[in-house]
Every structure is written in structure tokens, then in C-alpha cells.
Amino acid sequence: MAPKRGKKSNQNDDENGELTVINLHQCKRPFKNPKYHTPKKWKNLKQVLTLEKTQDFDLDIPTYQSIECPPSVRPQKKYCDITGLEAKYTDPKTGLRYHNNEIYKVIRTLGVPGVQAYLANRNAAVILK
């Protein structure tokens, strides 16, 4: 059954222009079951996924992992890490892709943290663990 008509005016209504704000600590919540206690521990995504893996299903049933997009088979178009324009060249020393020799000069003046920052944008930075 749809929520009661009369209460619609309490919502963020454009015509009314009012936003009712209530303090959750002050108002009564009779609808809550007092005997229910929320679980204190949650599982993060990794744990949920490992849990999923342990349950086996039929192969044609989709799981959270299975509907993930597969890697691309088409050749990647490369873009300059500094400017975003098309990158025809890659710097062998740093691995950055660049658009023309002017950008290359800029790359040479970057220090190691700058280079790693640009690479991190492309998920290609060196991660030391």
C-alpha cells in the first residue's frame, strides 16, 4: 500500500520549498523492534566475494564477479599523459606517453614524484609494498 497521502508534504517538495529536518535522536521510533540488535561486524567486499566463491552454483547463473567486463581485445589508443592529446611516442626512461617534443622537454624536467603522479593517473605507477 502506498504511503499515506497526507505525509507527502513533508518531503522535499519543490512547490513547498521546505525541507523538514528532524533530529533522529530526539524523535521517537516506535516502528523499530526493540529486541533487534544490528550486527556490529560487517564484511568488506573482498570477504563477501570470497564467501560467494565458496558457494557453487550452476555455471549459467551470474555472480558479482562473472558480470564484470572482460578486458578489451581491441588495440589500445594511447593518449598523452600530460596533455590528453593523442600520444604517438613513449618515453623509454619514465614510461610516460607524450604528444610532441615540447611535451617531452616538460617530461624531462619532471622529478620522480611528478612522473609517478602522472603514471598513477593511468594506473601504471610503481607501487612499493
Binding site: P3, F31, R74, Q76, A124
Partner: protein
Amino acid sequence: MENIFDYIFAIFGVSTSNVDHPIVITEPPSNPHYNRNLMSELLFECYGIPSLAYGIDSLFSYYQNVGGNDDGLVVSAGHSTTHIIPMVQGKGILSRSKRMSYGGTQSTDYMLKLMQLKYPTFPTKMTSSQAQQLVHDHVYVSANYQQTLKEIENRDSFPTFDRLIQFPFVAPVIEEKSEEELRLQAAKKEEASRRLREAAAKTRLEKLMTRERELEAFTNLKSAKTVLKKAVWLAQLKETGFTDEADLDDTIKQVEAAIQKARNKELGIDDSEEKEPPATNLIDIPDDQLDENDKKEKRKQRLLKASYDARQRAKQAKEEAKAQEAEEARLEEAARLRDPAKWAAGVKDKRHKAIDRIKKRKRLAAELSDRKSRASQLRMRSIANLADDNGSPKRRRKGQEEDTFGADDSDWMIYREISRDDDDEEEEEDLALVNHYESLLLQHDPTFLPEHSFEATSSPTNTLMHQLTYGVYPLFDPNDAAQHHQMHLNVERVRVSEVLFQPSIVGLDQAGLIETMDDIVKTFDVNARSAIQQNVFLTGGFAQLPGLTERMQTNIQTISPVGSSVRVRLAQDPVLDAWRGAAKFALSSMLAKFAVTKAQYQEFGGEYIKEHGYGNVFRP
């Protein structure tokens, strides 16, 4: 989540001990069991709802906008993900759906990172919500990404893409002096300079007076020679500080010359170095015929003569050089008038050579500063060789034991090469040459414009980086505080949205939107494919990007067979249509059919759902 539900029910004013309403709630495709379990548990146990139905938000949106029993493809560009779900007979086929990990949140993060890297020295820190605002206001999907990039790079079409974002800033207070104050300041300066000039004139005058007095004293002394006896006079001389008469004569001459010069300066007469040739009468007489004093005189005369000759020669050389220059200029003019094209080419060639020399010097300087470069290593080797005391014993042969370094003048050039001093003088010379050639070319060659000059092409405002960071107009003024707080959005406008089509831009190892759609469609029967492609439905908050529908239309056309029609539709309200679809679902008979009641929940567990066309598949 519990807080959110509390808020919702409190706003609704639910006053019963249970929430006596069936709930329809959306979940992501292929929601893990654990998550659904938690949600069902919360709703059933804590709030005591009677029945619960789950659905997928994008499919609800489809239901609201399209409905029906057609085949189609739903693309949901959401907040944190993008899903692509095929529909057959109005029901979602979850097993063939795909999910891309790029949505509104990731686009905001990417925009933030891009701007932080583009403006590393920006005065204020950009926040995530500001980045989100930028994405909402300025990002769009280009119809042809490569084409758009080329147009952005082109300086002429650049302004149509560039957006200037002004951040709030505090203008520095410059104390503007009024006209009055400026005049007063100028008057004060003039006063001070006048006073200085007067003081200088006074000191000069005083010096002149002292000199004249000295001259008088010395001439008196000299004339006293005839009056006094020689011994007394010599004693007086020694007292005043002279060694002998010649010394006194010299001093008198010097003082006279100084006075003359000072007088000339005051009167403004220009005193040039026109000295008459010195006396040379003693130089020719051989040494043994002269006595002590004469020998000294002879030496002095020789020196003077040598210096006088050198000066004459220098003057001659200068005049000759001037004449030669004039001659060359005349020849150039003649050559120019005779054959302007060839002359211009010749001058350009010379200019290129000078510019090459400048660039080469710069490159060499850069190489030498790098320790590992070849130039640097060669230099170290030269230094080591020079400092080597022993040398190579193998090469020593009889008679060749001596080190012949330095006998040849060019040997010393090695010291020039290893010194890392700046060769500023040569650079200045070359620059002067370039300027000279350029002025000639500007005057006489119509095709050579000021923007081709060396200065213009090497200035930093002409570079691509400058264009992308600071825009083309208005020109960047380092003193303008407002401009320091400005950001230019050009490539980022299309780059952030392009990630949907090319996730490799952010390093995501996933296929793009079109490729994934292609893969999904190909899993179907050949006959079914066309029906699906004709009915593509876009929904979700991130699908509000301008230009997305057109881009999808053209791209899907490229992957579908020739002649087939492609139709891409955007939801009427991409953000809220999911709710409307769910409301429609709830008001229909489907709710009673597909909702899970409390009893069923207690029997089957929290993961239990009933499959309907707009929700997930149930996995037992």
C-alpha cells in the same frame, strides 16, 4: 542503512510498532547473497515489514519509459558502475549482463586528479565537490574523439572548447597614490638631485682652488732655485717631499694638466687625446754615449714612442674596420637590389646558422650538467689526463721523454673546453647577429613576419602547454591576481567522458561501452540481434552527459550490420525514473505476485527472492 530507514519512516510519521507497508527496494545486478541477507534481515526483523520485493533500478526505469514485451538493451550509467543488461521479451537476461567499473564517482575523482596535475602550483586546493560540479557543468561526450582532440590542439578552434573557471580569490590591496602625492614625490626627487649636483660642483671648485694653490707653491719653489743657494734649495725640495728637480718638474706638469682638464670640463670643451708625437731624439743614439740621466730619458722616450705608435696603429685599424663595414653594407644593399629572393635566402641561411649555434650551445650546457652524458664523461677524461703526473710508461722512448704539452698554442684550448663557465659573450654575439639579420629581413622580406622571429618562437607563451593551461585570450599576466586563480578546462571536458568508451585511459583493464555491447549482442541469435540493437535504452545519472545519445547512435551503427537501424533512447528523467518504475511496479498486480512475505523469509532465508523480469536471478 539503518539510519536512512529510520529517517524515512520517521519523516513518514509511521507510528505503529511495525512498518505495515510492503517495501519495493532496488539492488545492484548480481547482488551477493550476504548483502541481500543483511538487507532482508534489517527490514523484516527490525522494522517488521509484511513483504519485500527486490528489483534492479535500471530495469525499473526501462519499465517506466518503455515497458512492453520488446527486446532491447539497457545501459545504466550509474554513480559507481555502468551496467549493460539485455532484455528479451521485456525481461532482463542477467546472465548476459556486464558491468563496467566507471561511473559518476570515478569521473569526479579523475577530474580532480587531472586538474591537480595540470595546476600543481594552484593557490587553493580543489575539493571533490568542486570537481563534481565541474563534471556536471562542463563535461560532455564528443561525437568523434580524435577529431575533437585535433580541434583543441589547433590554436584557432581552441577558444570554442576552452572553458575558464574562476576560483574565488582575495584581490591584493594596492595603495594608489593620488595625483598630489605623485607630484610631491617627483618634486622631492628633483630637489635632491639638484642639491647633489650643487654639492658636486662645489667640491670640484674647491679641488680646483687647492690645485691652483699647489701649482703656485711649486712654481715658487722652482723659481726659488735661482734665488737660493743650491744646497738650501735641495733641502727645501726634500722637505716638501720631492726627490729631485725632475720630480718637481713632473709634478708641476701633472698639476697643470689636471687644472687644464678641470677648466675645460667646466667650460664644456671636449678634450680629446690629441697628443703630439713625443720627442725621439735620444732613441737613435747608442747607449754607451749617454750618461745616467740621458739613459733614463732614452728609456722613457722609447716607451712613450712605442705607446704612441700603438695608439696610432689602433686608430688606423678602427678606421679601416669602419671602412670595411661600410663597404660590406654597400655590397649587401647592391646584392639585395639585384636579386631580392636570393639575398633574402642568404640572410635566412645565415640566421639559421646563428640560431643553430645558439641551440647547440644550450644543448651542450644541458648535457654537461648531466653527470652521465657522453659530453660530461669526455670532459672528466680530459681533466684526468691533464692531472695525470706519470703518464703512460709504455709510450716513453729515448728522446721523447719530455712532455711537449704547451709547445703548440692550440694545446691550451683544452682548458677552455673543460671549463664550465658560461660562454655568455658568444651567446650575446650570436643573439646580436640573429637580431641584425631579422631586422634586415623584416625590412625587406615581406614573407618574414615578427612572429617568425627567434624571440617569438622561443618564448614560453607560444607553447602548447601554455595554450592548454592558460588559454589563448586574454594573455597571461603574471601580476594579475585573478588570473592566478583561474583554471582552463579544455581537454578534460571530453576526456573524462571518453573513459566510458575507452577505459584504458584510466588504466582500467576493461572493454569499452561499445565493445561490451557488441559482445553481449553477439551472444544472441543472429535473428534476435537486430531487434535488440533497435531498442537501446540509456538511463542513470551519469547518462545525462550531453552528447552521449548521439555518440552511442553513431558508434553502434558502426558495429551493426549495414542497413540496420539503430535507435538509442534516453530516459525522460534519468535520475528518478527508477523510482517511478518501482512505484508503477508496486501499484500493479506484480507486487503481490513477486514480493517475499515474512513467512517465506523465515522459511527460506534472507537470500530468497522471486524472479521477475525486472530483478535479479535467484540462486539457490
